[in-house]
Amino acid sequence: MLNNKNYRDQFPGLHQEVHGKPLVYLDNAATAQRPQVVIDAINDYYVNHNANIHRGVHSLSESATDLYENARKSLAKLLNAPSEKDLIFVRGCTEAVNLVAQTFVRSRVQKGDEILISHLEHHSNIVPWQLLCEQTGAVLKVIPMNDAGELCLEQLDDLLTDKTKFMSVVHVSNALGTINPVKEMVAKAHAKGVPVMLDGAQATPHLKVDVQDLDCDFYTVSGHKMYGPTGSGVLYGKAEHLEAMPPYHGGGEMISKVTFESTVYNAVPAKFEAGTPNIAGGIGLGAAAEFMMSIGLENIEQRDAELKSYAEQALLTVPGLRLVGNAKHKSPVFSFVIDGIHAHDIGTIIDHHGVAIRTGHHCTMPIFQYFGLAGSCRASFAFYNTEAEVDVLVGALKKAIAMFE
């Protein structure tokens, strides 16, 4: 069992006041707090190993390179990737999706081909495909969802046609918390020969992810959502794809030989990592991965389940509150609306009680179009949140309602 109190102590950002009230941070799906070990790893690089990586023969550059490459190994372990060479460091999930769209997919699609996404996607997994469709004449298809906020999987086989060249779906919805049955979806797509990318932005903070077991072709990780630094993330890709794909950015590191006439690209993953990367960010993300493994993903999953059931019951005691999305499998993320009060007003009011939630469309406008809503309030939990914080949230919501009466 997870000793919640001990872990809370390790997150300095949790221990502060907002408007004179103790902070209740329930905006974890937007970005998580970072544990001291992550902040220390960043500091340690800047103070003791501050150098550029890969290119230097001097000692600082060597040790910085080791730290960075060890971080890649930690991430490979977290995701159970076959090799750390299958991981490309990126700024976050958004860059990862754009990278795959503009390299792997762009080199394979022609006019009339189809790209399949789902109704649950974050804008990051919609707009890059719209741009690609504009550029290539490909067509965007969407797996529909139902009133519970679950995907209509019975339609998947029909949506996977001869023209489908790629499928990209979210593992866990940031807006509704829905956990999609991605292993089954990958299998269905593969049965039709369609490669699959999974958007893992909201999955890695909560679930044990095994890319080999999922058998996905690509998997995206957002560092800042899994307790790591901002501007960090990784893209996992099957080795055969990474080898075959054209490069993304041109620049230093990603080449082995440059003349003005021609250029020989470097081996994977360097081929996709042009320029000086976010070195401190990568190192901090490695520390976050090690931190999560030291807690144990099964412990995090268990704690999530406890918080989820407590929060769900507590929220339903708020008069006029309606939950948006109630998938059978979901993460501790709650989208809700309250009769007669706009989400932004609720957000502003409960902030004055120290409670940080997100309001609006959460970068998933199509989901809210489906429900005929402009947006929602979203309370999203991490394993370090407590039942007492749920109570503060509920109390604050009741005060907001009182104010509007």
Binding site: H342, A343, H344, D345, I349, H352, H361, A374
Partner: protein
């Protein structure tokens, strides 16, 4: 009374309960939508301009109480003004609400000055100015105004 109470009780809720000029009119000469990109707020402003005078103005949309109340106040305030005057008041209102500025009151803005309390909630300033941007866009013939 806390700022929070002041903002909501005094200024906002009255207009929310009794919105002036709310709803899509049957006809209009100028229209624009105001979009708040970040949070998805939406306000439509409909104007009828006759010989450079805004003879009628209405709004609808889906938006927070601050935004809706601001739109309600704006329509009351702008109606029957000339286009030139309306645009000047738009500039003044933006000055009043500008993040970082210390302006607390602008004589020409009369009742609208109450909205200055919104500045205590910086992320909500755009809620208050959205309808004004839409109004100005409509006059200038633009279809959409966004407050990034």
């Amino acid at each position: 009374m806390t700022d929070l109470n002041k903002l909501y009780k005094q200024t906002i809720l009255e207009h929310n309960r009794n919105p002036r000029n709310f709803g899509k009119p049957e006809s209009w000469t100028h229209h624009a939508e105001g979009l708040n990109a970040i949070c998805g707020d939406l306000v439509n402003v409909y104007l009828t301009i006759e010989e450079d005078v805004i003879s009628s103005i209405a709004y609808d949309g889906e938006s927070c109480a601050i935004s809706m109340a601001s739109a309600s106040m704006m329509t009351e305030f702008i109606k029957n003004r000339t286009v030139k005057d309306a645009l000047e008041k738009f500039e003044l209102f933006c000055q009043l609400m500008a993040k970082g500025s210390d302006v607390k009151h602008i004589d020409d803005l009369a009742a609208l000055n109450h909205l200055v309390t919104v500045k205590k909630f910086p992320s909500r300033i755009k809620s208050a100015t959205l309808c004004w941007h839409a109004m100005a866009a409509a006059i200038n013939g633009q279809a959409t105004a966004t407050t990034e």
